[in-house]
Symmetry: C2
Subunit: 296 residues, 2 copies
């Protein structure tokens, strides 16, 4: 029996702008998905709190194919992450499954190999995917993403965060399409706005590397996302409630339209959690996780 | 006895950016202040719902000095505008007082003269002032403001609006200083953001003149103001509640940090008023007023 775990992720800066070639910054968070794999004589049996087993099934296929081996499996999944919340649970479960099954079969895949196979799982299930989630959950830490170079660069920094979850599921595809529609309607206004998000992200990298406060930069980034039309009432309430409770900065994270927001809360996480819960939403303390996928 | 009235105003586009030389658009709204002036043997006596009579007293001084005449006066003021809400009540009461008192003394001042004297009143009371409020309340309609040319150009357009008032008083001075501080901390991020507001305002002028929908432009402008840090929980709630109730666009208006927001509500003003009142705030239907100061 082998147990592997992998962390969830948040986008710290640059969501949506990354679609247009601007950089983004993602961070692994210490809310993890654990995958326990055991050999059985029978075929695949999965137990988890969710009914959507597509990523686990695809991950088993992908790792069997990669290794040229197969076995009967019993897989049990437990998670700190709300599903479909934009915190990268599908990438984390894919990557943790690959690591657990490979190890169970006596193989120690390198991290780049695991990330590559994880990306293949997301591509297989979704048809289209970004490598950001699978790369970040595999390697952990904070990653600076340059889409035009197809490259990831780790940023050494710690960041005390609170994640607030609106409970609202949303379609990333529709939100990305909405931004494109706005950009097509007003290219001369929206293109500089997207470039401005890229500038904020570059500055955030510098500030993080220098150990400086990134609260104002998160707030600016949130406003620019509001301008792109991807915030909504629920996200905006949590963002403002967090700031009024003492967060240094707060922004929606990921696609917007629901899902999650993050608050940067040096020394004030309890007040901020209370403020978010006071809005009827779920709040989770979430530090950056230096560790990516690991065997337990 | 003479009664003069003058309209309140909202900033439709460009607040804060106008401080840095970008254009702005202001609109007179059909919520008015009425000033009734009557000659008496005694000195000045003012009755109104508010206790702050500084603008009225200064306006009487300024108009007496301008005309080289004086008289005992009884002045009664009634207003559709909440005081200190950022809807230009001080400019409206100054301008209406000047028109009423001049007329009572048998003089018919031209509008440019009234606007100039009104600006003098605001300068005298506040120490510093922008001519926007007094110009707009005097001339009415929608005014395109070019601070670098010190010029106003009327825009012919109608605009069904709802004004939501948070009930929160705020200091314009502090909010303007906050933007300056952010700009000083991150000039290379905040300067393009301010320029972007200017671009939105120029586009809004074109769209208004063409009779096109300016909802998206109001939403973009609001997001950019969020990015400048001048929105807050109360404003943001009213903005999002209005949009979810069917407003085509919504933004804070004026300095932010409290005060008012506006929603662009073609055909949906009742739903939007209900949504704002549902947040515990005051909502007022407010079409653009083509008429500025007038004798009743």
């Amino acid at each position: 029996m082998v147990t592997a775990s992998a962390p969830g992720k948040v986008i710290l800066f640059g969501e949506h702008a990354v679609v247009y070639g601007e950089p983004a910054i993602a961070g692994a968070i210490d809310l993890r998905i654990r995958v326990r794999a055991e050999k059985t004589a029978k075929s695949l049996k999965i137990t988890s709190e969710t009914k959507d087993h597509r990523y686990v099934e695809k991950a088993v296929d992908v790792v069997f194919e990669h290794l040229g081996e197969a076995t009967g499996l019993m897989i049990d999944i437990s998670s700190d992450l709300p599903p479909a919340s934009g915190l990268g649970s599908s990438a984390a479960v894919s990557v943790a499954t690959i690591a657990a099954v490979a190890n169970l079969l006596g193989h120690d895949l390198g991290k780049n190999e695991i990330a590559r196979l994880g990306y293949k799982v997301e591509l297989g299930v979704q048809g289209a995917a970004s490598p950001t989630d699978t790369y970040t959950t595999t390697h952990g830490g904070i990653q600076y993403i340059q889409p035009r170079k197809k490259g990831f660069t780790p940023i050494q920094a710690s960041l005390p965060l609170v994640v607030g979850y609106t409970g609202i599921e949303r379609s990333t595809k529709e939100l990305v399409a909405g931004v494109r529609k706005l950009r097509d309607a007003y290219p001369e206004l929206v293109s500089p706005l997207i470039k401005n998000i890229g500038m904020v992200t570059r500055q955030a990298r510098k500030s993080l590397e220098a150990g400086e406060d990134v609260g104002d930069l998160m707030n600016i980034n949130h406003g620019l996302l509001e301008a792109l039309g991807v915030s909504n009432d629920a996200l905006s309430r949590l963002v403002h409630a967090s700031r009024e409770a003492g967060a240094r900065g707060a922004k929606l994270t990921g696609a917007g339209g629901g899902g999650c927001m993050i608050a940067y809360t040096p020394g004030r996480y309890r007040d901020v959690i209370n403020a978010i819960e006071g809005c009827g939403s779920t709040a989770m303390k979430a530090a950056i996780s230096a560790e990516g996928v690991r065997l337990e």
